[in-house]
Every structure is written in structure tokens, then in C-alpha cells.
């Protein structure tokens, strides 16, 4: 790690605070409260469960399906959610988010996380402006470079936008494991606030390098593919929830899998995607009650590996 800067100092303190406030086994998030994590670069707290929109919000102009997704968003906000993540790559998802935001109440806490996904600087600028218009927001809270596409160009644009106050945080994402080496180099060299990658109870490669590096560098972590795009949870649904899951207040597999992710000290927020209100309620329940400690996390891993 290089010399201590204000950024890394704030990040380190925030990470320590996050770790320190992580409930141990048997401890609880206060009744009625939800688990929030600090964004290391500012110490701003955000709820540990966000809303992903890959596939699930790409419903085109179908009015019935748009209304259904707006109901999912309403439930998300009603249960304390803030961070919604999307990308121009996700077809009509951004337009559907904008549709929902324009029609539901209780959305004042929105933490908008958009992405730029195109080569070339002018195309990137146009795309981000188009995304902002589709969402119907004044500015994005977080703008991320999607899958590292032309990242060296867009990072300069994002740094300038942040300096001008046109975006609050900047970040970079990948859902491709083979890009983790590139991601690590960017995390070491660029002043990003957020990074997003895949992590779940069976895909734990990032525990070795990326998660510790994020904590070291004071970078917030968004976890995508928490259910392996449904594959993992579909697999687990064929097995009973272990009886000891009640020790961490899990009543379903979604909460089991999500609590494993958000209990990692370096993880800021997981972004499961869903098209169903009942699944959204299950997901948001992961932020409540007791959270697993290190010993319980190991037990959860062993259990999933045996079924």
C-alpha cells in the first residue's frame, strides 16, 4: 500500500468501523433496523441489500410487466432499500426503472447506480446522459464502468464528472472472473469509490485478493450474481434449510445466501435481482436479525458444499 492519504485514511477507518459493528453470532441488528454498511471513501451508510436489474427488469414496453416491476421497486423502498443498479446493456431496464420511479412513492432515499458501457469518450458521455434521462434522476449517485469496457477512457470522464459534482461516486464493475487481474490493477491505481464483482457462498475466489484489497484501499464493494443468476438458489431449494439457520434468523434460502455475502466485512452491498414482490421481501429480510460471524460463515460454506 502506498502512502497514507485522506482517502485511504477515511477508508480504513470506515472499514474498521464496519468490521467493528458487524454483529457476532447471537447478536442482532436492532429490532426494526436494517444492516447498513459504510462507503469507505465518505463513511456514508447504505443498506446492505440493493436491487439488481439484469434480465428481470428488461420487460420492454409491456405495461402490465412494467407495473409489476414498479411494485417490486415499491416493496424494495418500503423495506428500507436504496441502491438500484442498472446498465444500458440491460435492454429496457433503465426505462423500466424510470417508469417505476415516476409512479411510486417513498423513493426519496434512492441511491442510483448506473453504468457506462460503450467504447469512446463521446459515446460514453452521450450514453450516461441518456441513462440519466431514462432513470429520470437529476444525477447519478454512482456511475460505474461496466465490465471494464474502454475503462482507461471513461475513468478520466468520471473523475472529471465527480470533481464537477455531476456524480457522487465512481466505480468499475465486472461479472467475468477472467478480468479480476485487470480489476485488481485498476483498484490499485485509480481513485475509485466502488468496485463490483461476483461473490457468493460457492464462488469465493474474491476472498483471496479482491475483497482484502478493497478493504485495504477503502473501496466499497457491490456484489453481483449473489444467487448465480438463480442457479444457486434453484439448487438449494431442493434441500432443507439447516435447522441452525434460525441462529442467524434465516427463514429461507435467499436470506441464508445473502447473509453469507453481506456479513463479509469488506462487502458493502449485494444486489440480487428479482421480478417478484415475495422474493423481494425475502431478500430484504436478510438485512434484519442476527448476522453470521466467521465461525458461522465457515459452517454455512461447509453445508452448501455438502448438499
Amino acid at each position: 500500500m502506498g502512502h497514507l492519504t485522506r482517502r485511504t485514511f477515511v477508508g480504513s477507518v470506515a472499514s474498521l468501523a464496519t468490521t467493528a459493528t458487524l454483529p457476532a453470532l447471537g447478536q442482532s441488528v436492532a429490532p426494526g433496523a436494517i444492516l447498513k454498511k459504510a462507503i469507505p471513501s465518505t463513511a456514508e451508510q447504505i443498506p446492505a441489500i440493493g436491487l439488481g436489474t439484469w434480465i428481470t427488469f428488461n420487460v420492454g414496453s409491456n405495461e402490465k410487466l412494467r407495473v409489476a416491476r414498479a411494485q417490486v421497486m415499491q416493496t424494495f423502498f418500503d423495506r428500507g432499500g436504496r441502491l438500484i443498479d442498472s446498465s444500458p446493456m440491460y435492454g429496457s431496464s433503465e426505462a423500466v426503472i424510470g417508469y417505476g420511479l415516476a409512479r411510486i412513492g417513498n423513493k426519496g432515499a434512492l441511491f442510483s447506480a448506473g453504468k457506462v458501457w460503450t467504447p469512446l469518450k463521446p459515446l460514453g458521455i452521450n450514453q450516461m446522459e441518456n441513462s440519466r434521462r431514462l432513470w429520470g434522476v437529476e444525477r447519478f449517485d454512482l456511475m460505474q464502468i461496466h465490465n471494464l469496457l474502454d475503462w482507461s477512457t471513461h475513468i478520466e470522464t468520471l473523475k472529471a464528472m465527480k470533481a464537477q459534482g455531476r456524480v457522487r461516486y465512481i466505480g468499475i464493475t465486472t461479472s467475468q472472473g477472467w478480468r479480476h487481474g485487470d480489476l485488481e490493477r485498476i483498484m490499485r491505481s485509480e481513485p475509485i469509490d466502488f468496485v463490483a464483482f461476483s461473490y457468493n457462498v460457492v464462488d469465493r475466489e474474491v476472498e483471496e485478493r479482491l475483497l482484502p484489497l478493497a478493504a485495504e484501499r477503502g473501496i466499497a464493494v457491490i456484489v453481483n450474481r449473489p444467487f448465480q443468476e438463480g442457479v444457486l438458489i434453484d439448487r438449494m431449494m431442493h434441500h432443507p434449510l439447516p435447522p441452525w439457520a434460525v441462529e442467524i434468523d434465516c427463514t429461507n434460502w435467499a436470506q441464508f445466501l445473502l447473509k453469507f455475502i453481506i456479513s463479509h466485512p469488506a462487502v458493502t452491498c449485494a444486489i440480487p435481482a428479482t421480478r417478484r414482490v415475495d422474493h423481494m421481501e425475502e431478500n430484504m429480510g436478510a438485512m434484519r436479525g442476527r448476522q453470521p460471524d466467521t465461525r458461522m460463515r465457515a459452517r454455512m460454506t461447509r453445508y452448501v458444499e455438502t448438499v
Partner: protein
Amino acid sequence: MRSFPFTADIYLSLFESYNSTIWPAQAVAYGLGILALFLTLRPLAGGGRIAFAILSAFWLWNGIAYHLMHFFQINFAALGFAVLFTLQGALFAVIAIGGRRRFRFRPDVLGWSGMLFCLFALLAYPLLGWLAGHDWPRAAAFGVAPAPTAIFTFGMLLLLEDRAPLYLAVIPLLWSLAAGSAAVLLLGIAEDSSVLLGGVVGFGLLVWKRQQPSAIMAATR
């Protein structure tokens, strides 16, 4: 990561919306398809020009109305498909304007194959979709949706009086391979296995047709 940003249900609901929006274009497309096929059975002066114009209209419609104005809503790749379909439509338009190529059904293997492809696109493809549970309007309609249009195009090219230039079949082949395999393997749209098979077989027959001695081709006129 899943390669497709949408599900089969969303894909079919897009067809529902698309078919409702463009009605009665589907009926017009059927009429034009039957006219094109009729012109291969009863060649008329200027018939080739008309049939190529119909193929051009189908591909341009699919490029602009389907890919660009509808499919692009849920699939970023549709922009590229729109360019390719429009290019194919332009190729057919150029040949229609040139007016030198004609269609003629011959009762041989290639002729019957071409007829089979065309009838499959007009009749069997929608029937397969219905059997797979994709009821109207959640279905790809002849002439205004890419899959049956590609199959019909292979049929018409096989019914060309002369050998068909293979460049006319490159985009239909690429579409058949890409869209057919994606629809079947990733979305479970069973009827689109016919697109995949049709593209491979259709292109193979066109290559075979080009290898036939020109004297035989001439003798069968």
C-alpha cells in the same frame, strides 16, 4: 453470465406487443408471400422483379420495424441485426431493380426443396409454434418476423431459375445459425430449431445448386 439479457417470456411478450402494433401487416405479408410463391409456379413478365421486391420488403421491414423499433428495446445486439437485415433488403432491392433474375419451380430435388422451405415458412412454422404453446399473438409471424422470413428466403433462392449468388444467402445463414441456436439453447423456443436446420440445409442446397452443370440448368428451363 447468461448471454441473453431477457427471458423467453419477455421475448414472447415482445411479439405480443409487436404483432398488436403492426396488425394487419401480418396478413399483407402472407398475401405477398403467396404471390411470390405463385410467381415461381406461373412465371410472368416482370415476375422476378416483383418477387425480389417482396423479399426486399420483408427484410427491410424486419430490419427497421422489428429489430430497430421493437427488438432493440430488450436486446442491444438488435441494432447490429437491423443493419444486416437492412443490407439484405437493399441487396434484394438492387436485384429487383436490375430485373434480370427470374424464379421458376422445377419438379426436381432443388425445386421441391425450395417449395418445401417456402411452405414450411408459411404453414408449418406457425403450426410448430402453436404446438409449442406459443399462441397468437405471442408468436413470430411470416414475413414480419425474422425466423420464418429467413426460411422463406432460402426457399425462394432455391427456386431461382439460375444459380443463386451465394452472397445473397450469407446474412440469412448467419442469422439462422446465431438466432436459431440462441433461441433453442438459451430461450427454449423449440420451433426455432427449424431455423437452425433450415439455414444449414438451405445454404448447403444452394452450394450444391451452384455445382450443377450449367447445361442441365439451362435444359430444365
